[in-house]
Amino acid sequence: MQIPHEYGAHEARLPEPVDPNMINAPIPLGTRLDLYRLQQQMRQFEKRAYDLFLQNLVKGTSHLSIGMEAIAAGVGQAMRADDYTFATYRGHAHTLARGVPMGPVLAELLGRSNGLLAGKGGSMHLTSVERGVMGSYAIIGAQLCIACGSAWSAQFRGTDQITVAFMGDGATNIGAFHEALNFAAVFRLPVVFVCENNLYMEYTSIFDVTAVEHPAADRASAYGLDRIVVDGNDADAVYMAASSAISKARQGGGPSLIEATTYRHGGHSRADPGKYRPDGEVAAWLDRDPIPMYHQRLLTLGVSEADLDQVQRDVADEVEAATVFAKGGAPPQADTALTDVWADGGSSWRN
């Protein structure tokens, strides 16, 4: 449908209604409470990151995933602690989903010495090898090929670890996406590719630059993979799809490609008001916010409002503590930038 728009007429893409059967999905209530907590963590963390940006404390740009939490939560919850994740530059939630503590992540955004990478990475390059978070990638699609390598490694070593590689919809048009899918399919690698289709490749509608309706799922058949499209604003739907794909990969069944449909509540990056999006579209997706929907579902399932409030308050405390931790970190010394370029720990190419 067309919705009149200040800068022209873009076709608005409105969300599908929530699947009424998803409440009956075979997911234990404890798992659902975990999914709720994860989504709360991601949402409240991102809001705080935005506040700190407005206070000029975040160094450089940052790309928030407010509105997209159900995907990172659903996939993260379906993973095992020793599995691997590759994240996008919109990757704060992907990182938190693996249990990386908020404090060091926030400190990294602030470029402090107590940050996850002591200030060397920043918002777009969060990495925690300890938690299997093998980095977030700001070069579109690069992580997809690398994820094939980590999956290959697990297969070669005979472990049953799987790899998850997140990507945005824009990544489906770069060569690396196609190379990675073919590679993974040929070698039946234990990797799950998760496309977060938020309908916009940076500042441009993905539909304007893609030959097919579903940028990831409609390409799956080219690599012998199933066409999987899930509601990316329903953590249960994502959790079910991810669990199934992960289980298949762990058992030697090869790769999967999941396309999860979602929406960014904000713009592409910190300063972008996102005005290239039709107003009616934004409003419709705000109504399909994954978190209030999930809150309601838990109430329907018998969880008390008081218990859910408690989760929100606990998370708020966690974010507050992380903020104190991050703000308390000193800026890194200049000479720490000169470490770890080479295997000897230094940065000099001369003898």
């Binding site: 060397k120 700001a138 048009n173 770069i174 690396a176 940076e202 441009t204 190419w349």
Partner: protein
């Protein structure tokens, strides 16, 4: 004449060339409807239509490759790589195809494309939004490499680049889009309005490729700089009181060796400044060139002030960035030598 910021001057150059030549087409990521991350193509799609100004998928190899084919068959594509850091997936098309098409077809085929890309740091972009990859291009035979430092030059050089029959890499120091940044990052942005080189003719003019400009005449030493470093070099001259002759190279390849040689022959001393990493950076080529041309005039070793030999750091941006203090210290050493 109109006062323009550098991004407006770039937009004006494209506009002028689209008006003059129907074969000029413009494409890249987010450059059409949205108008580009740095607004360099704002309004062009509305003016010229989406057949000549269009959004490309995120696919740098595809973007460059398509431009090579367009150029070979009569068009003059002006493409944008959203950040220079994103060009690497397109390097194969640039190096193996665009740069060599003329040579291997005995000049029957050419690739008259212009590849615009914002480069350099100063915006806390970290390692994937801050790089200065110019020496990767100057190392490839067949690519012209241009890097303007102000709105006037940006427009004239871009017009000359679009008209050139060889492929041109057009690097735009992103810290200069809005004003002449001298490395004092804690001071407010100085706009182009009020700067003489922010005055830009509305219509067509060329700044010829391969010609350097002397930004500040001086007798004590020669400074070879380009892009953002021109203003850092000027600030360092002012702050040290050293009478530096500052040369803005404007085009790295072809290089204006006449201007360089004449200046170093006069001053006998040379400092080279660039933001890119040091080892195998363009400063190494410049240093070798000065030595070859001016050896008997040199009274001191040539110094290079550059970014560190590390990936562009996130938190330590202003330590990595060659600011006026580091450049001024080099002036003093070269004068004292």
């Amino acid at each position: 004449m109109t006062t323009m910021a550098m991004n407006a001057a770039i937009r004006s150059a494209i506009d002028v060339m689209m008006e003059r030549d129907d074969n000029v087409v413009v494409f890249g990521e987010d450059i059409g409807y949205f108008g580009g991350v740095f607004r360099c193509t704002e309004g062009l799609q509305a003016k010229y239509g989406s057949e000549r100004v269009f959004d490309a998928p995120i696919a740098e190899g595809g973007i460059v490759g398509a431009a090579v084919g367009m150029g070979a068959y009569g068009l003059r594509p002006v493409i944008e790589i959203q950040f220079a850091d994103y060009v690497y997936p397109g390097l194969d098309q640039l190096i193996s195809e665009a740069a060599r098409l003329r040579y291997r077809s005995s000049a029957e085929f050419t690739a008259p494309l212009t590849v615009r890309m914002p480069c350099g740091g100063g915006i806390h972009g970290g390692q994937t939004h801050s790089q200065s990859p110019e020496s990767l291009f100057t190392h490839v035979c067949g690519l012209i490499t241009v890097i303007p430092s102000n709105p006037y030059d940006a427009k004239g050089l871009l017009i000359a680049s679009i008209e050139d029959d060889d492929p041109v890499i057009f690097l735009e120091p992103k810290r200069l889009y809005n004003g002449p940044f001298d490395g004092h990052h804690d001071k407010p942005v100085v706009p182009w309005a009020g700067h003489p080189l922010g005055e830009v003719p509305d219509g067509y003019y060329r700044v010829e490729l391969g010609s350097a400009a002397i930004r500040r005449p001086g007798d004590d030493l020669t400074v070879l700089a380009y892009g953002t470093m021109v203003y850092v070099a000027e600030a360092a001259a002012e702050e040290t009181g050293i009478d530096a002759e500052i040369i803005d190279l404007r085009t790295l390849l072809p290089l204006d060796t006449d201007t360089i040689e004449a200046s170093v022959a006069k001053t006998g001393r040379c400092v080279i400044v660039h933001e890119a990493t040091r080892t195998s950076g363009f400063g190494a080529e410049l240093s070798a060139t000065v030595q070859e041309l001016c050896f008997y005039h040199l009274e001191a070793p040539i110094e290079r002030v550059t970014g560190w030999d590390t990936p562009y750091p996130h938190a330590q941006e202003w330590d990595y960035f060659p600011g006026p203090a580091r450049v001024g210290a080099a002036y003093r050493r070269v004068i004292a030598a």
